[in-house]
Amino acid sequence: MSRPAFSPEGVTLGVCLVALGVLWTLGNLGRIEILPVLRTWWPLSLALWGVLELVDLFIRRSSGRSLR
């Protein structure tokens, strides 16, 4: 059994955590106001996850076709 190329939810969670950590740090440094930024951009996490799921689906189908 081959291991999947990547896990979309794992990548999404990882990216979101990285983004949240960076934004929070910038907020603590006074560079940005964290709440407006989060409020504006948080839905992107859903979009990112959706895109990754589509990519994952595409990769799976492509690899399945080539195996045949």
């Binding site: 896990s7 939810e9 999404t12 969670l13 709440l35 989060l38 409020r39 948080w42 996490s45 859903l46």
Partner: protein
């Protein structure tokens, strides 16, 4: 869909919900009207003040009556010029900007109306604030003729009243101060302290959840206080109902009647009689000109310098008396009696406590259950003495010059009668340790009967005064003349330009509100 995906979806949506909620409530944590916070019934936050004034002339010849209604603001009424009522309204609007505050304040009207000698003062704050979330304080400063009878109804605001002919005040959630009132005063207060001084007539006061101070009331005072302490000084006859607090009364020119519950009662210098009852606390009386009747459940009774008779009743505590000129009756259930200087005898019954009488004259009857009795009359015995003690002893001092017929019995103890001149005939028991002795002293006289389960002892003593000093009389109790309110009913005709007072149906124009003064930004205490 895997559990991981479901978990991540919930996590992201939850995170989004938190962010959205935080965004919506950001900077908007208000509890109460816009731009302020209501804490303890008061407004806090940035505010602006605006003032408005009005006045109204009164027709001469009739004593004016002023009715004031307000909420969320203080009311101050003082004596002013005769024939004229002057009102100043200070509007404090709690809004973040001066423009908003001014626009709101312009809608708040001072209303001054009346009919004949009756004047009504109020605002339209009820109509303005109904359905609007804006903090508004309306403070009224009123000057009225000294012969005015004033009625004030206020909530969430302090009431100060002085120098008028009469007062009827109902207030809540803030203090009340009334002074120098020529006539009668009636006060109802909730959740605030009350201070009343210098009342020429009677006083009727009801207070809940606040301390009360009353002083220099010439007439009778009827006070009903719960959940607060009461201090009364220099009053006429005083009738008090008090629960869950304490009473300190000093200088009562008439009778004192107190009904207490869970309240410590202390009274000094009472010219008339004192009647007091309470529970779970004590009663302490000093210098009473008349009779005393005191009843304390689960509390002690102490009394000193009582010119009349005394009745005291306690449970689970004792009675302590010093210098009583009249006859005494004391009952202590699960307590003892300790008395000194009883001029006209005593009738005492105790259970679970001892009796000690040090200095007495007149007939004495003592019954001690599960306790002992020690009687030291100091003066020569000339009246009947009866003392019995179950599960206790009886000891009687016999002063020189006493004359009585003795009948003493000890059921299980020793009986000693070491009194020179006492002719006795013993019976029962061994010689020198009789159970019963009958005899005469000084040729006989009043009957002295002593009974005890334990020892009975008679001991010769020298004669002395029954008390260290005579009963002290109540000190001056009438309010001093300078504390009296100004004379009522000054001439209203003294008004320089009396103006007609139109009927209430047609409100008079003489009170055109002045243009709002320059606003003054205020920052209430505790404001951020």
């Amino acid at each position: 869909m895997s559990a991981r995906k479901i978990g991540l979806l919930i996590l992201l949506l939850g995170f989004g919900a938190v962010v959205e909620t935080a965004w919506h409530v950001r900077g908007d944590w208000r509890i109460g009207p816009e731009g302020c916070r209501v804490i303890g019934g008061r407004f806090y936050g940035p505010s602006y003040s605006f003032e408005q004034a009005a006045e109204r002339a009164l027709l001469p010849g009739e004593a004016p009556r002023l009715e004031v209604k307000n909420a969320f603001g203080g009311v101050s009424v003082t004596a002013g010029a005769p024939g004229m009522v002057k009102v100043k309204l200070r509007k404090v609007v709690f809004l973040p900007t001066e423009e908003k505050a001014r626009a709101f304040a312009d809608r708040v009207e001072l209303r001054l109306s009346g009919n004949g000698a009756q004047v009504k003062v109020g605002t339209n704050r009820d109509e303005i604030t109904r359905g609007e979330d804006v903090g508004l304080e309306t403070h009224l400063e009123i000057e009225t003729p000294p012969d005015t009878v004033v009625e004030v109804r206020n909530e969430h605001g302090r009431v100060d009243l002085s120098g008028t002919a009469g007062a009827d005040v109902a207030a809540s959630f803030d203090g009340v101060a009334i002074e120098r009132i020529a006539g009668a005063v009636k006060v109802g207060a909730r959740n605030g302290d009350v201070r009343v001084s210098g009342v020429g007539g009677g006083l009727e006061l009801t207070a809940r959840h606040g301390n009360v101070e009353v002083s220099e009331v010439r007439g009778a005072a009827k006070l009903d206080v719960e959940h607060g302490d009461l201090k009364a000084r220099k009053t006429g006859a005083l009738e008090v109902a008090i629960r869950f607090g304490g009473l300190e009364a000093e200088g009562v020119a008439g009778d004192l009647v107190v009904r207490g519950g869970h309240a410590e009662l202390r009274a000094t210098d009472v010219a008339g009689r004192a009647e007091a009852e309470t529970s779970f606390a004590g009663i302490h009386l000093a210098r009473v000109g008349g009779d005393v009747r005191a009843s304390a459940k689960n509390g002690e009774v102490t009394a000193e310098d009582v010119a009349g008779g005394l009745f005291a009743e306690t449970t689970h505590d004792g009675v302590s008396l010093d210098r009583v000129d009249g006859p005494v009756q004391a009952i202590a259930d699960h307590g003892g009696v300790d008395a000194r200087g009883l001029a006209k005898g005593a009738k005492i019954r105790t259970s679970g406590g001892d009796v000690s009488l040090d200095g007495f004259a007149g007939p004495v009857e003592v019954e001690a259950e599960r306790g002992s009795a020690r009687l030291a009359p100091r003066a020569a015995l000339a009246a009947a003495v009866t003392a019995s003690a179950t599960h206790g002893e009886v000891h009687l001092d016999v002063p020189e010059g006493s004359r009585f017929d003795l009948d003493a019995e000890s059921r299980r103890g020793d009986l000693r009668a070491e009194v020179p001149g006492l002719a006795t005939s013993e019976s029962g028991g061994e010689p020198g340790r009789a159970h019963r002795v009958v005899g005469k002293l000084g040729g006989g006289g009043a009957a002295v009967r002593l009974r005890a389960d334990g020892d009975v002892t008679l001991e010769a003593k020298p004669v002395g005064p029954i008390a260290d000093h005579p009963v002290a009389r109540p000190s001056a109790t009438a309010p001093p003349a300078e504390a009296q309110a100004p004379a009522a009913a000054p001439s209203v005709t003294a008004s320089p330009k009396p103006r007609a007072v139109p009927a209430e149906a047609a409100p008079p124009p003489p009170a055109p509100p002045k243009a709002p003064a320059a606003p003054k930004e205020e920052e209430a205490p505790g404001a951020p």
